[in-house]
């Protein structure tokens, strides 16, 4: 899915004139914490609207969509992976996956097995480690099969090994899809087609 942001201004937080990300592109937006990277991600995902400017996804202006249309857009086209609280902790892993896929077929079990969570199918998500939670969140995105995956600091709470696992999963999940990751972790730059310094973008 092609993404284009024009003449963006978000209150006193940041402004920039143009950002375009083409379909299937893998983009890392990096920069220090607190700069507005998450806000940018939320703008692209239709979770927030800019004070000024327009956000286009495949030519559709998200700023003009109703709440219901935005919900449908997110449900069908966008997959989110957050830094924390990706999952509903009182639900089991299977139930968290059911939030995006009404019927869990064999594919869910196959993917869970591949990420080392096959024995956690009926375990409450709140009891998983942070690494397991992040992997489960990526599995959920895989099952959702969106056109764009937006990940907000997906590796920030993880150790090196878990961060690597999650990134590999994300890249696998985003084959032929657009992947936008915001992070302050410069180790991730090697995984992406384009690395965008957020500070330079908003100058």
């Amino acid at each position: 899915m092609d993404i284009e942001l024009r003449g963006i201004e978000v209150a006193s937080l940041f402004k920039f004139s143009h950002l375009a990300i083409s379909a299937s592109e893998k983009v890392l937006i990096y920069g220090p914490s607190g700069g507005g990277k998450t806000s940018l991600l939320h703008l692209i995902g239709g979770l927030w609207k800019p004070t000024r400017g327009e956000v286009f996804c495949d030519g559709k202006n998200l700023c003009t969509l109703s709440d219901f249309e935005l919900s449908e857009f997110r449900k069908n086209r966008i997959g989110f992976v957050f830094q924390k609280m990706n999952l509903l902790e009182h639900m089991t892993c299977a139930e968290n996956l059911e939030l995006v896929a009404n019927r869990l077929g064999e594919s869910a079990e196959t993917v869970l097995r591949a990420v080392g969570l096959s024995d956690k199918f009926h375990v409450k998500a709140g009891t998983l480690s942070l690494g397991e939670q992040q992997r489960l969140a990526v599995v959920r995105v895989l099952l959702q099969n969106p056109a764009v995956i937006l990940a907000d600091e997906p590796t920030s709470s993880l150790d090196e090994a878990n961060a690597k696992k999650v990134m590999e999963l994300l890249l696998e999940a985003s084959q032929k899809k657009t992947l936008i990751v915001v992070s302050h972790d410069s180790r991730l730059q090697k995984y992406f087609d384009r690395n965008l310094n957020f500070a330079e973008l908003i100058q």
């Binding site: 219901f68 919900s71 449900k75 957050f82 009182h90 959702q144």
Partner: protein, 411 residues
């Protein structure tokens, strides 16, 4: 995943807080249900009282017993009064007393004797004089079908008796003789239905009424049981209709110079209402307050749950759930709680009410007079369901104003 399942999982996975709220609401349902049924019971008794006649005459056993005995056909077996008192009043004879006083009973417009003689199923069998069935006095039952009894064993039944026992003209029904104390354990009389009264929504609907021939036969057959100075020439009550200004004269005659007691129907009604009215209204008020407490408990739970679910709801929104889906989640939670609380509360209500009713004894009409089944608590259930829905309006309003971006930023 459907909003219904999300709501269900949220409730069952937060067992402790859900249980506390559930117990609060179900206790409110049970308590309010019991209070409402007590109120309805009390109300039904007064709404069902026979609304006719100017005065009731019976044994000197207390005005309340007299009123409930004659106007609601309930209570213990009433004591006897002599039948010749009826003859005196009916014939408007002059009475001469030892102190040389003379009273002329010319203030009577109509008078009907009543005697309780048997019980069939849960209904009481009374007997009265033949002219009762043809009387045009206001408030007396009219025939739906059939005629007045003319021989012993013939009866006219009230509409509730007919529908409850599925009676039609010509049917027979067994009756247990009742001439003091408790009814006989075995049915020894066979009554023949010769008439059915129209529905009155009063105590007449549950009467089985025979002619005086039936009373004579049953009394004479059981004469050995009568230990009164008047033998079997007795009755239990008289329903009296007076000419203008006749009340004082009748009161003076009956209360001062006979073994009987007279009670004014109008005054009795007023006193009964005064006696029970405040209590009934207070009971209804308490029921309403308890329900209100139940609602505020749900409302408070919904608000605190919303606060704790703020981020979860934002995650759901990010996953594509619309505001409408989240409204449904909250509504389903409220409805699950309401229905479960109604079900469990009704079970408690159904168990406690009969016990409470038996505990209160004669203060309430018996099961045979006003049945008051569990479903009469339905206004409480409806109020709980509506109240629970209302209690989620505030969280729903908060969701409609929720900024997903801000909520997710708070992670």
């Amino acid at each position: 995943m459907s909003p219904a399942k999300i709501a269900y999982l949220h409730l069952v996975r937060n067992k402790f807080s859900s249980l506390i709220v559930l117990v609060g609401i179900l206790l409110a349902v049970a308590t309010s249900g019991v209070l409402l049924r007590l109120y309805s019971l009390s109300n039904e008794r007064f709404m069902g009282l026979i609304d006719t006649g100017d005065a009731i005459i019976g044994a000197k056993s207390g005005a309340l017993d007299l009123l409930l005995g004659m106007l609601s056909f309930e209570g213990d077996y009433p004591e006897y009064i002599p039948m010749n008192l009826y003859a005196t009043l009916k014939d408007q004879q002059s009475l001469h007393f030892e102190d040389k006083a003379t009273v002329s009973a010319n203030f009577i417009r109509a008078v009907f004797p009543f005697a309780l003689v048997a019980k069939t199923d849960e209904f009481r069998v009374y007997t009265t004089s033949g002219d009762f069935f043809n009387s045009k006095e206001k408030g007396l039952p009219e025939f739906e079908t059939g005629r007045a009894p003319t021989a012993s064993g013939q009866v006219v039944v009230g509409s509730r008796v007919a529908s409850r026992l599925k009676l039609k003209m010509g049917d027979t029904l067994p009756a247990r003789v009742w001439v003091g104390g408790e009814p006989a354990p075995e049915a020894s009389q066979t009554l023949h239905v010769v008439g059915i009264f129209k529905t009155t929504d009063r105590a007449w609907d549950r009467i089985v009424l025979g002619g005086w021939e039936t009373a004579d036969k049953i009394f004479n057959d059981n004469a050995v049981l009568f230990r009164t100075p008047w033998g079997t020439k007795v009755m239990n009550f008289m329903l009296v209709y007076l000419k203008d200004g006749g009340f004082g004269s009748l009161e003076s005659l009956i209360n001062r110079r006979t073994v009987a007691q007279m009670v004014s129907v109008g005054e009795g009604y007023r006193k009964l209402n005064e006696l029970a009215g405040t209590g009934r209204e207070l009971g209804l008020l308490v029921a309403a307050v308890i329900l209100l407490l139940g609602f505020s408990s749900v409302a408070s739970m919904m608000m605190s749950r919303f606060d704790s679910m703020n981020v979860q709801l934002a995650v759901l929104r990010a996953l594509g759930y619309s505001k409408r889906d989240l409204f449904k989640v909250l509504l389903y939670e409220a409805l699950y709680l309401a229905f479960l609380a109604c079900l469990l509360g009704a079970l408690i209500d159904g168990s406690v009410f009969p016990w409470l009713r038996s505990l209160l004894g004669a203060n309430l009409p018996g099961e045979d007079i006003v049945p008051m089944p569990i479903w009469t608590s339905w206004p409480v259930w409806l109020a709980v369901i509506v109240g629970n829905i209302i209690s989620v309006l505030y969280p729903i309003w908060r969701i409609s104003k929720q900024n997903i971006h801000t909520s997710l930023r708070s992670i």
